[in-house]
Amino acid sequence: MTKKQHRKTPELVCPAGTPSALRVAVDAGADVVYCGFRDETNARNFPGLNFSRKEMSEATEYAHKKNAHVYVTVNTFPQAGKTDLWRKAVNDAVDCGADALIVADMGIAAYAAKTHPKTRLHLSVQASASNPDAIKYYCDTFNVKRVVLPRVLSIPEITALNDEIPCETEVFVFGGLCVMAEGRCLLSSYATGKSPNMNGVCSPAGDVRYAQGKDGSMDSKLGVFTINRFAEGEPTGYPTICKGRFKCGGDTGYIFEEPTSLDAISMMPELLQSGVTAFKIEGRQRGKAYTEAVVKAFRKALSDYARGWPLKTDALIALAEGGQSTEGAYKKTWR
């Protein structure tokens, strides 16, 4: 059974979509930066984003010099018989000096565990492992050291889980939210033929169009579907179907979820008590200005909490999707 590492303060795991964002994250106080290669092996396969092999090597060197770590995401699901790209990503990440691999697919986990047994293996949120049996299976079978928990668990559920599993846990504290079972959502593929699970893109930009109305409104379209219309001045969100506004039962509204970002700064004390090892910030697709602001805010919040000072909870609202934030399932008020 794997021994858990206990930290006085949680590891701050921060996103980087580009080498510049990685440097900014490290300089702003990230303990770890996670990033991926420039292809469909990672769940943020967006145009102009991600790292070449050379950039990844330089990035890990930069991070290590500043006592930070780099976790490489290889967290999409290859199609059967087409695993070469994913295996190469695993090998190259290790060659580039990655401190851990974040994987989702069992076949890729098996390959990484067998080929690179000395490299730490983390289970991506895309694996959607949210109960003790599932997590124990990954730990026992692939020697997974840490699981990134789906954003559907309450804090009491996370606490109970931490008592039952042999590995560390990492939880999201800021950024985009998925209401679906992560790694299982196919909504995007119904409209575009592509999904985050298989292609690393939810609502691929090539299928997104925005149309500005003469009245100041803006239509958001995905494939052939209009999925939202924002009035003049109304804050917008990502063009994902789950955050679309639809006519349903005689009403027009958000039937899955509103455009909003997770912000768990206010829940930090409870999350620390729950036994999690790492706090994760979502947003490899965001600019480095976002990375810097969020990393600094959470570094300050951790410092303030350690000193017994009150936590500043509204510092990041300007960065939030739809101009609003939520504690999500951490503060579950529904059944």
Binding site: P47, G48, Q212, P259, A289
Partner: protein, 162 residues
């Protein structure tokens, strides 16, 4: 009466803008590399508080300057205030946040816009400093001129507001 296309073009400014554009591309080859196939896209930049717009094409190292509202062929369009677009290009603001808050608008080929945003965000450009450096001995007076422009910017924005 509609203007002819060549009347919409601000040819007086184009050599200056083109020189700056090419200087930046030369100093940051990673922009072209990161753009990949999207370097061929023609992207229109609409500066809301200025009397002009630009259409750039990285692969051809070309940039055109046109009167505001000119009908020019482009694959994708971004609009915002001068300072917003400048900060976005320099990575000083997060593009998604600007989009959520309606500070910028995009239309056309979203993929090309996202690629350009990501390429610029990675490039650590200082547009003003690098632009001024492109003019050698004129850099200092131009820098002073820019500072005056910054001070006057709210007034200028008001003059050209829709």
């Amino acid at each position: 009466m509609a203007m002819k296309k060549d009347q919409q073009r601000l040819t007086f400014f184009e050599p200056v803008v083109r020189r700056v554009f090419r200087t930046i591309l030369d100093a940051h080859p990673e922009i072209t590399d990161r753009l990949g196939d999207y370097a061929a896209s023609r992207i229109r930049i609409d500066v809301r508080d200025a009397p002009f717009c630009m259409v750039l094409q990285v692969a051809k190292r070309e940039i055109g300057v046109y009167r505001r509202g000119a009908k020019v062929k482009s694959d994708a369009q971004i609009s915002g205030s001068f300072m917003t677009l400048l900060k976005l290009a320099e990575g000083g603001d997060d593009g998604d946040s600007l989009f959520f808050n309606r500070d910028i608008e995009i239309s056309g080929d979203t993929e090309a816009v996202v690629a350009l945003r990501n390429a610029l965000d990675d490039s650590d450009i200082d547009i003003i400093r690098e632009s001024l450096a492109a003019f050698g001995v004129l850099a200092l007076p131009l820098r002073i001129g820019y500072r005056v422009f910054q001070d006057m910017q709210p007034i200028v924005a008001g003059m050209f507001a829709p």
